[in-house]
């Protein structure tokens, strides 16, 4: 009798998460929330961490087995991250309790070791499948290669593929990011062996073999991080690919499948109406606390702007802008160099400033959130030409390599092929001499060959005589503090002549 009871009890337990019992097609259901690309805690987006928290609470209320996949793209860059290297995002996520966090490019904003440190702060696993660290002869310390979670009677295996471009874009010195095709097949097999019912792929960069894997149901569905601002041009959903973008950072999916055949998975994509979500009060408190601390640290006026100024992404990456000139000038002055170049990718504010705006430290940290250090090198005229060619090589795609300069005036034709776009270069009013040596002030990022500036990695470094090299933002802050009132101007340093 007791045995029967126990058996019954077990049955009752099992059916907690299943519907109709004994009918021909018993269906299992589970909710999945996918979020990514949320580096700013006080984002102007409709979706915020406070709303995400209440979405998760609702979902968990309905389904206690809700799977929360955080896709990454959030540890940097932001003003607060520039100070704590993304710790606050981990703290927030610890409150949101994700099942995992996938590693994407932005997680390397502060390099490998800081990411490992974050993994120890995180009360959830980090996963990346194609990351290899020669030091550990395996994955980066603190990062899992795959993840198998068992929830609501189903085992879901996760594979997360990091874009190989990260090594070049973020100048990773140590870790390698491998081509994932083999690894994916390997991991699928391993996860299946461990009893995975479903395989989920998280990725950001398309590969031609992903559709096949999805069609063959080797991968049941994919979660994708797009670097686009919104989802208007995305039409991959038919293949079970669910995408988040900068302005649509959260998706909520309902997964359902017949009890014994998870392969016949049905996915329902729930529209999220951020406006209908209330801010989660605990999360609001936590975020307010961070904002309060950030303001305390950064809301200090350092000067005033006398002219209007724009740092909109599209402008910064395609033409000379006033603030770019100001940064380059400050850099040139602070280092007594002949010329200065920065990549416009360091300018992240994406903001319109009115004339007479008060500039705070926060503005500068928001504009320059990467901790780029100042570097001074000697460069020949020929190398400088190559560097500028690289700078304008992808102007049509509005890439971060587009230069902002000081002490240099140049013209280019964007319709010419790469390598022959630059038409003329003047250095402080004199024609560039290919064999002459110039002293160039720039950032350590470019000197290490970042953003395609491989020419700069071949130049000779001049030492900076401080114990700790100043940051680009330090120099800009100092320049504004010294001048008090600034009026950066566009003055024809970079001219496109085929428009």
């Amino acid at each position: 009798m007791f045995t029967t009871f126990r058996w019954l009890g077990a049955l009752i337990f099992i059916s907690v998460s299943s519907f109709a019992w004994g009918s021909p097609a018993p269906i299992n259901k589970i909710s999945l929330v996918f979020a990514a690309n949320m580096p700013e805690i006080s984002s102007s987006n409709a979706m915020s961490y406070a709303k995400l928290a209440s979405l998760l609470a609702l979902s968990r209320q309905e389904d206690e087995y809700t799977v929360f996949v955080f896709g990454g793209g959030s540890l940097g860059p932001s003003p607060l991250s520039s100070l704590d290297r993304g710790s606050h995002i981990i703290d927030i996520l610890n409150t949101l309790e994700p099942d995992m966090m996938a590693i994407s490019k932005r997680e390397f904003s502060y390099y490998e070791d800081e990411l490992t440190l974050r993994s120890y702060e995180a009360a959830f696993p980090f996963i990346s499948t194609n990351l290899f660290d020669p030091l550990t002869k395996g994955n980066l310390e603190g990062v899992n290669t795959n993840l198998l979670i068992e929830k609501g009677g189903i085992k879901i295996g996760f594979i997360s593929i990091l874009d190989e471009a990260v090594v070049q874009e973020y100048l990773l010195q140590r870790v390698k990011v491998e081509e994932p095709k083999e690894l994916i097949n390997q991991q699928i097999k391993q996860l299946k062996r461990q009893g995975a019912d479903l395989i989920v792929l998280i990725y950001s960069q398309e590969k031609d073999y992903y559709p096949e894997l999805l069609a063959a149901k080797k991968i049941n569905f994919a979660l994708r991080l797009s670097s686009a601002e919104d989802l208007q041009s995305e039409a991959k959903e038919s293949l079970n690919i669910f995408t988040v973008a900068n302005k649509h950072p959260v998706r909520q999916l309902s997964l359902s499948w017949p009890v014994d055949s998870p392969a016949e998975l049905q996915i329902e994509d729930n529209d999220i109406v951020p406006l209908s979500l209330l801010d989660d009060s605990k999360m609001v408190l936590l975020i307010d606390e961070y904002k309060r601390r950030l303001n305390r640290l950064l809301n200090q006026s350092i000067g005033q702007l006398t002219e209007p100024m724009q740092t909109l992404r599209e402008l910064v990456r395609t033409q000379e802008i006033a603030f770019g000139n100001f940064i380059a000038d400050s850099l040139k002055e602070a280092t007594n160099a002949d010329i200065a170049i920065i990549n416009s990718g360091v300018i992240r504010g994406d903001k319109n400033y009115q004339a007479d705006s008060i500039i705070t430290r926060a503005d500068i940290v928001r504009e320059l959130p990467f901790r780029s250090h100042v570097a001074v090198v000697t460069i020949t005229g020929q190398q400088l030409l190559l560097a500028l060619e690289n700078g304008v090589s992808e102007v049509e795609f509005a890439k971060g390599r587009f230069p902002q300069v000081a002490g240099i005036t140049f013209t280019y034709k964007a319709k010419h092929p790469f390598g022959s776009r630059i038409q003329s270069i003047l250095i402080n009013g004199q024609v560039l001499q290919p064999t002459k040596q110039y002293v160039l002030a720039t950032t350590d990022y470019l000197v290490q060959g970042g953003d395609g500036y491989t020419t700069l990695s071949m130049t000779q470094n001049k030492s900076i005589t401080t114990q700790d090299t100043p940051l680009l933002s330090d120099i800009v802050i100092r320049a504004i503090q010294t001048k008090q009132r600034i009026a950066p101007k566009v003055e024809g340093r970079i001219v496109r002549i085929d428009q």
């Binding site: 007791f2 100070l83 710790s87 409150t95 974050r118 696993p125 601390r293 401080t466 330090d474 100092r478």
Partner: protein, 550 residues
């Protein structure tokens, strides 16, 4: 008569006074420039040394001091984050507040920047927040440890049932609850050591199932009510708001936050130190720039001083040469001029230019000319001829008038002989003026000594002409004296190789007489004699002719 020989011409006047004034002013300016350059060089070096001593060096020292304090602060922060007891936390706090106040003191002393002091204040607040977080974490750990102890006490209590059970040799069904309890506690203990939230949540979801089982078993076994009570106690200990589960989850969150916050504090302290260093560096750069500027200036000034010295030396040499050439040597010329004048030589000055020395020379020439003119006047006023020491024309005029007037009274005769040296121009041309003068003297002396009577009078009539006035002499007497004069000249035998009528000097003589029968005025008488002389010359010289009254 000598005209002044100083050729002032149209030359622009270069006044020595001006030259000397200009030279003095130039030397003075040069000297002042040198003094000023050296002085200002010294002053700027002094300022630079002061700057280095008072700003740059202390800045470097302060910079390293701040670095030291900052790294000690970082260490203490790390110690704080790792403190596992109140005591350790307090010690770390004390260290931190000490380093903070030192940092504050140093930065207030040396950087009067509101920006930095606000940053320091922020660090202070951050550390205070961090300390509060550590405290929360410590309390949480204590709470978890208390709960763990309570669970172990509960387990110990449960063991009491088992010892009873062994004694009473009950059916093995009675062990099932205890066994399940042990399993449950093992997994709770595993959960406590986990560091992934979802895993903890998973384990505790399992715990819910375990509780159901425990409750079921407890109902079926002996001591059912105690076992149920213990099971509920356990559920309470773990699942209650203050239970082990929420505490563990909180602990995981706070542990992450502690590491994150430590990094944060670490970074803002580093940022602060870097800012301080950067401003120290700026001051240092300013000093270095100033130093470079001063050294540059000193180099320029040194070369200017050198140049000024060279110019000064050249200037002095030029001045000395100028004085030598234009003053000393010209003064010598002037001196020679004066000496020559004193000797009565005809001097031709080579003094040129237009200055005080030429003024002096002009004045001197003017002066000597005046003297010469006065000599001539004096000679005019005297009665004897300066060269031959016989009477001059003036004396002749006076004597002749006197003798004619006397002859009128005495009704006697006065004869005049007018003599001219033959070919005297050829003599002068060939023997020179000096020899000519000597010849004149000799002839004058011969004529003088040929006249026997004391009343006879001889005078130099002009250039090479002589005249004799013979009172109380008739024509015949006069002719005899003329004849005798010719004779005496011949005897004197003064060589004149260029004479066209012989090898020695000869005379031609014209004779005229004034007598009672026809008194002639001196002019008429001299005119008659001159006519007779002309006649003698035309008759072939070296003879006398007598004037024939018409």
């Amino acid at each position: 008569m000598n005209a002044p020989q100083i050729t002032k011409g149209n030359k622009k006047r270069i006044s020595l006074n001006r030259i000397f004034s200009a030279a003095a002013v130039g030397i003075l300016i040069l000297f002042l420039l040198l003094a000023w350059l050296i002085y200002s060089s010294l002053i700027s070096f002094k300022v630079l040394l002061n700057d280095v001593a008072e700003e740059s060096l202390p800045n470097i020292v302060i910079s390293s001091k701040l670095y030291g304090e900052s790294s000690r602060l970082l260490e203490a922060t790390e110690q704080l984050s790792k403190s596992s007891s109140e005591a350790a936390k307090r010690l770390a706090e004390q260290r931190i507040s000490r380093y903070l106040s030192q940092l504050k003191r140093i930065s207030e002393q040396n950087y009067h920047s509101e920006f930095l002091s606000i940053q320091l204040e922020t660090i202070n607040l951050e550390i205070a927040d961090f300390t509060a977080l550590i405290k929360e974490s410590l309390i949480l750990n204590q709470q978890i440890s208390d709960k763990e102890k309570a669970i172990y006490r509960l387990f110990t209590l449960s063991l009491a049932f088992e010892s009873d059970a062994t004694n009473q040799t009950q059916s093995k069904d009675n062990y099932i609850w205890s066994m399940q309890l042990s399993k449950t506690l093992v997994s709770v203990s595993r959960g406590l050591n986990m560091n992934r939230l979802q895993e903890v949540r998973g384990l505790f979801r399992q715990f819910n199932n375990d509780l159901d089982l425990l409750r079921n078993y407890a109902k079926q076994e002996d001591n059912s009510s105690e076992k149920l009570k213990l099971t509920n106690n356990l559920a309470q200990l773990i699942l209650h708001e203050d239970g082990l589960l929420p505490l563990k989850i909180k602990q995981l969150r706070i542990a992450g936050r502690v590491i994150g916050r430590e990094n944060f504090v670490h970074n803002i302290i580093q940022d602060f130190a870097r800012l301080l260093e950067y401003s120290a560096k700026e001051t240092e750069a300013q000093i270095t720039q100033k130093m470079a500027f001063t050294i540059n200036r000193a180099e320029t000034e040194t070369s200017i001083i050198g140049l000024a010295l060279v110019i000064g030396v050249i200037f002095l040499i030029v001045l000395i040469l100028f004085i030598q050439k234009n003053i000393v040597s010209r003064l010598l010329v002037l001196n020679n001029l004066v000496k020559g004048k004193i000797k009565g030589e005809k001097v031709y000055s080579s003094l040129t230019g237009n200055d005080e020395i030429t003024d002096l020379a002009s004045s001197f020439m003017l002066f000597s000319d005046t003297i010469e003119q006065q000599n001539v006047k004096l000679e005019h006023m005297s009665l004897s001829d300066g060269l031959t020491n016989i009477a001059n024309r003036r004396a002749l005029d006076v004597r002749l008038l006197h003798d004619i007037e006397l002859s009128v009274r005495k009704k006697s005769h006065v004869a005049v002989l007018l003599m001219d040296i033959d070919f005297f121009k050829l003599y002068n041309d060939n023997y020179g003026h000096a020899a000519g003068d000597e010849c004149l003297k000799k002839i004058a002396s011969v004529i003088k000594h040929s006249l026997k009577r004391s009343s006879d009078f001889v005078a130099r009539y002009g250039g090479e002409e002589f005249a004799c006035v013979l009172p109380d002499t008739e024509l015949l007497g006069a002719a005899a004296i003329a004849e005798q004069l010719l004779h005496s000249i011949r005897d004197a035998n003064v060589e004149h190789k260029f004479s066209k009528i012989g090898d020695s000097i000869t005379l031609s003589i014209g004779v005229a007489v004034s007598g009672p029968e026809r008194v002639l005025l001196p002019d008429q008488l001299l005119k008659q004699a001159d006519k007779a002389l002309y006649l003698a010359k035309s008759k072939g010289r070296n003879q006398y002719c007598i004037s024939t009254n018409e």
